[in-house]
């Protein structure tokens, strides 16, 4: 009997071991979703039965540095049973790379069990679940290779595991053997390396998104701190707390009494440890996830007269500045771009001041320079700091944009830019070209005013004379090089046919974006030969009538420029194509 029982136990334990992955899959399958939108896709998991879903920030972000808070327009969530739902973004962050979505369902959904990421140890089993659209839902398994990778340049530590993460698995869950979520998977590294954000951080971010719609970091601006390796603490003769490396002069942290060389041993009653990078990162996460406006109390050790004395320093928490663009991260700072000149600039934050080792924090940092553009040819490099343009001091985004817009609308020939680079001062002269000089453009619009304003501005900056109207009659008033139709225009068939026929005859460039390509139905038959694109939802009508619909974001065929106008990036590309066609336009009467 004993033998039988032992045998039985052995068998079941073996059987259990073989079925771990299978059991887990059955348990969690219903909670893992696929996420898809126009630009990209990934995976996610349901954290609340009401339809809250966690995924990566980069899965939903438009990654548009000119509008860093933009998310993809139409995000679809696909459940395990192939049911589709439109999702709304509650909030997202790129570092930590977490986003929170909401779908509206009629029945409650199966949510995952949240595990304790603090209890994760190196060597334990883990499973990554990915559900990339178009591919099978996949479960990969491995072990946790490292619980605290801090050298990847991310805000928090991340788990490293050898469970394979493919690109479509981004945003999916990392499970422990019990089927509890311990992380949100981000990028896969090289073969055998995958990274996952500990779920603890994702859950804090979930709260932030629900409360504020974004990640609101707190800080005591500004001081630089670091961990204290054993040797360092030994030389100082203090415990391994958090070391205050540099107090930025004239900052708030200086005013509350923090000093260079202080060793923080307690923060809000909790001991501060700088024993390891992991501990330090944890401490920093703590500091940056408190509540704006609340008091913070540091207990520090300070050397006075050769002895370490304990002191208390307290202050009020402020909101941290937006993260600048760095490496492949687009950050949270807006870039003000001028494609006409081939450059973009960003404000200078303390973060960018140190990351880029800038010579000053007054002025604007050149964040991108198009090679061979007008600005590049004048000798300006990325990370130059602009201090003056045409003798006017540049202090912030507003002055920068006002000054440059002013120069371009007045069609000045030269733009003189004083910059600082390293320890040198430069004076660069940009020769400005106005590709649409003397061109006349008519915009007929009843669409979104912000987008209309952007079109008008961008055309004017290139030298065009722009007229805006909401009626089709305005066409007759002038001799146009280009006509842009924007919004949900509904002309009478006759008006439309006349307009289009006239445009085609005069070889006027015609730009249609979003729904307006539908107007082509009343145009001359010759238009059916051109390649066109438009808002996907309305395209079937045109396809049925024999139009050559390609579905691309932007199509430019001769004098016909069309676009889906799906998002801001697409609108920008559309405008570039439209401008290029207008610049090239030859009047048939010439």
């Amino acid at each position: 009997m004993r033998v039988l029982i032992t045998l039985f136990v052995l068998c079941t334990s073996v059987a259990f071991a073989q079925n771990d992955g299978e059991k887990l899959f059955r348990k969690v399958d219903k909670s893992v979703v696929a996420i898809q939108h126009e630009r990209a896709g990934g995976s996610g998991f349901i954290v609340d039965e009401s339809g809250l879903i966690v995924t990566n920030g980069h899965v939903v972000s438009m990654m548009d540095v000119e509008n860093p808070r933009d998310t993809a327009r139409r995000i679809t969530v696909i459940l395990h049973n192939d049911k589709k739902y439109q999702a709304r973004v509650i909030g997202f962050s790129l570092d930590p790379d977490v986003a929170l979505l909401k779908i509206e369902t009629t029945e409650p959904l199966d949510a995952v069990e949240i595990g304790n990421s603090d209890k994760v140890v190196t060597g334990q089993t883990c499973y990554a679940f990915g559900a990339p659209l178009g591919q099978k839902r996949t479960l990969t398994g491995g072990i946790i290779s490292n619980t605290a990778r801090t050298s990847l340049g991310t805000f928090t530590k991340v788990f490293q595991m050898d469970a394979i993460i493919n690109p479509g698995n981004s945003g999916g869950p990392l499970f422990n053997a019990k089927g509890e979520v311990i992380g949100v998977n981000t990028y896969g590294g090289k073969a055998g390396m995958g990274f996952s954000i500990p779920i603890k951080y994702a859950m804090t971010l979930k709260e932030h998104f629900q409360k504020f719609g974004r990640f609101v970091r707190t800080d005591v601006p500004f001081f630089v701190s670091k961990a204290m390796p054993e040797e360092f603490a030994k030389v100082l003769g203090t415990p391994q707390g958090v070391y205050v490396d540099y107090i930025i002069p004239n900052s708030y942290s200086e005013s509350i009494g923090l000093k260079n060389g202080d060793v923080i041993i307690e923060m809000d009653g909790k001991p501060s440890s700088g024993k390891s990078e992991e501990d330090y990162y944890e401490w920093n996460w703590d500091l940056q996830t408190k509540v704006v406006g609340e008091k913070i109390v540091f207990k520090i050790l300070r050397k006075e007269n050769g002895k370490w004395v304990e002191k208390t320093v307290s202050g009020i928490l402020k909101e941290d500045e937006p993260a600048p663009q760095y490496g492949r991260q687009i950050g949270e700072l807006k870039e003000i771009s001028y494609p006409e000149l081939g450059w973009g600039v960003q404000s200078i934050t303390m973060g960018s001041y140190f990351i880029y080792n800038l010579p000053t924090d007054k002025g604007m940092r050149v964040s991108s320079v198009k090679s061979n553009g007008a600005v590049a040819r004048a000798g300006i490099n990325a990370n130059d700091v602009i201090v003056k343009i045409n003798d006017q001091e540049i202090t912030d985004e507003e002055t920068f944009q006002n000054v440059v817009d002013g120069i371009l609308t007045e069609q000045k020939k030269f733009m003189s830019i004083s910059t600082l680079r390293g320890n040198d001062k430069y004076f660069n002269v940009v020769k400005v070209s106005y590709y649409l000089k003397n061109r006349k453009v008519l915009i007929i619009s009843n669409g979104a005013p912000e987008e209309l304003a952007i079109f008008k501005r961008r055309l004017q900056l290139q030298g065009a004379k722009v007229t805006v109207s909401s009626t089709v009659e305005s066409y007759a008033d002038g001799d146009w090089d280009g006509v842009l139709l924007h919004g949900e225009l509904a002309f009478s068939k006759k008006e439309n046919a006349e307009l289009l026929a006239s445009l085609v005859e005069k070889k006027t460039v015609l730009g249609l974006i979003g729904k307006t390509p539908l107007l082509l139905v009343d145009g001359p038959e010759s238009l059916k030969d051109s390649k066109i694109t438009m808002d996907k939802d309305f395209s079937p009508k045109l396809i049925k009538l024999g139009f050559n619909y390609t579905g691309k974001d932007v199509e430019s065929d001769g004098t016909l420029v069309t676009s889906t106008g799906f998002d801001r990036k697409t609108s920008r590309s559309f405008l570039e194509a439209f401008s290029a066609s207008v610049a090239r336009r030859t009047d048939p009467r010439d």
Partner: protein
């Protein structure tokens, strides 16, 4: 001396070129045409021959024995005699790569020793052992070169060719002036080979004056060699490598800049004035536009002005140079006196395993430093405390860091550092606290020292 037959072939080729470009020079309107043409040819031939005779005792065949032989045991070059004391200038090569230099002028062999290897000016000065006076070449005026003018290349050859000078005849195809100068030639075969080494070969005008030198890939006007030869003559065999400098960076004035700032394009604009340099002492500022040097006005525009300014400047320590500048729309006169370029003396701090130096004004720009005082770290010795102490795997100290405090001692320069190290050695400190300036902010680190440690591979100081 007989002209080497090969050159005759080149000569005739050049002649054909010559005839194809003549207009109606009157050669063909009378019965005496063929004769006149023939006479002309002979006169050119004679000029080339005479040029070769005139200069060949100034062109030297050099053989360098390599320390680490590769495909060959030695390389061959040409050089030119620059004075009557036996000094020969040739292309730059690394002294350490060569064990032995032999020189031949004609059939006469000489031993030679390297006197000065000047990487910046891309030449090496060699002295040949002879009691007789040597015949230097004459340097021509490169500012009067014209495109299309005829030139004669004279190559000293090897024993295999009986040391016969090889002549080539051609013309100047283009004269390129800018941030560096070069010339293009037509009608000459410049392929280097062991017996006819074109590397270092001088090129002469029809008056027998050297105007260019072949560097292999490119041919450069002889100015660099001429200037170096002159400086060398003034200083003699003084082996010092003092470099004269003014301490400015400058750029050409572009069309846009000239229009916006209302500046002449025949000028150069200063972009950087080094601290404590002759330029700063003379009162020059970034943004100043130089229009004349020692009374010589800049006449070339844009990028060519860069070449002209190099020709006008005579770098010599102690020499005063008068400048006419434009500053904020007003004309001004300034003088600067060439001084010795500050040399950077690096020392090795064994206790830390660091190579450091006092901050020089060039360091300030090169490393983009934000402090003027302190000791700059330029090297980290592998295996040393600096290399092995880490901040969780990342280096604690890097090149470009400036040490400003060591264990409570303020460090303004190497002297301070030495003083601090003395005290640390006395106290036998095995780990110290260091404050550094890194980029635009300070940071603190601790460093284990090697004080009191005797390891097998550490030499006692």
């Amino acid at each position: 001396m007989v002209v080497f037959p090969k050159s005759l072939m080149l000569l005739s080729m050049a002649m054909m070129l010559f005839f194809s470009t003549t207009t109606n020079a009157g050669f063909f309107d009378s019965d005496s045409e063929p004769k006149a043409g023939r006479e002309y040819l002979e006169s050119v031939q004679k000029t080339v021959d005479e040029t070769v005779k005139k200069v060949s005792s100034g062109v030297v065949f050099l053989q360098l024995a390599l320390k680490k032989p590769g495909r060959t045991n030695s390389i061959t070059l040409n050089g030119v005699v620059i004075d009557d004391k036996g000094h020969v200038a040739t292309l730059y090569f690394k002294e350490g790569d060569v064990t032995d230099v032999k020189a031949w002028i004609g059939e006469e062999e000489y031993t030679a020793k390297i006197v000065k290897a000047d990487m910046r000016n891309m030449l090496t000065i060699i002295k040949i052992e002879t009691s007789e006076k040597t015949q230097p070449i004459v340097f021509g005026d490169t500012s009067t070169l014209v495109t299309g003018q005829f030139i004669v290349g004279v190559n000293a050859t090897s024993k295999n060719l009986a040391f016969e000078p090889a002549a080539s005849f051609g013309s100047l195809k283009a004269i390129i002036e800018g941030s560096s100068d070069s010339v293009l030639v037509s009608g000459m075969n410049l392929t280097h080979n062991v017996d006819i080494p074109t590397l270092g070969m001088p090129i002469f005008n029809l008056d027998g004056e050297a105007i260019a030198i072949s560097q292999g890939r490119s041919i450069v006007p002889i100015d660099g060699v001429a200037k170096a030869a002159k400086m060398f003559a003034n200083r003699g065999d003084d082996d010092s490598d003092e470099e004269p400098w003014i301490g400015i960076n400058y750029e050409a004035v572009s069309e846009e800049l000239s229009q916006v700032l209302k500046l002449p394009r025949e000028s150069i604009r200063i972009t950087r004035v080094y601290r404590d340099s002759p330029a700063s002492k003379g009162g020059l500022l970034p943004g100043d536009v130089i229009t004349s040097i020692d009374g010589k006005k800049i006449t070339r525009r844009g990028v060519r002005a860069l070449s002209q300014i190099r020709k006008y400047l005579e770098p010599e320590i102690g020499r005063q140079t008068d400048l006419e500048i434009i500053r904020n729309g007003k004309d001004k006169s300034l003088s600067v006196i060439f001084d010795e370029k500050p040399k950077v003396t690096s020392i090795s701090i064994e206790e830390f395993g660091l190579t450091v130096n006092d901050i020089s004004s060039t360091d300030y720009y090169r490393y983009n430093l934000k402090v003027n005082e302190g000791v700059l770290v330029t090297g980290i010795e592998g295996g040393s405390p600096a290399a092995t102490s880490t901040y969780f795997g990342r280096p604690l100290i890097s090149r470009g860091d400036v040490i400003t405090e060591v264990h409570g001692f303020e460090i303004k320069n190497i002297k301070d550092l030495r003083g601090a190290l003395e005290k640390l050695r006395e106290k036998k400190e095995s780990a110290v606290f260091i404050r550094l300036q890194r980029g635009n902010r300070p940071t603190s680190v601790s460093l284990d020292t090697a004080i009191g440690q005797k390891t097998k591979d550490r030499k006692e100081k």
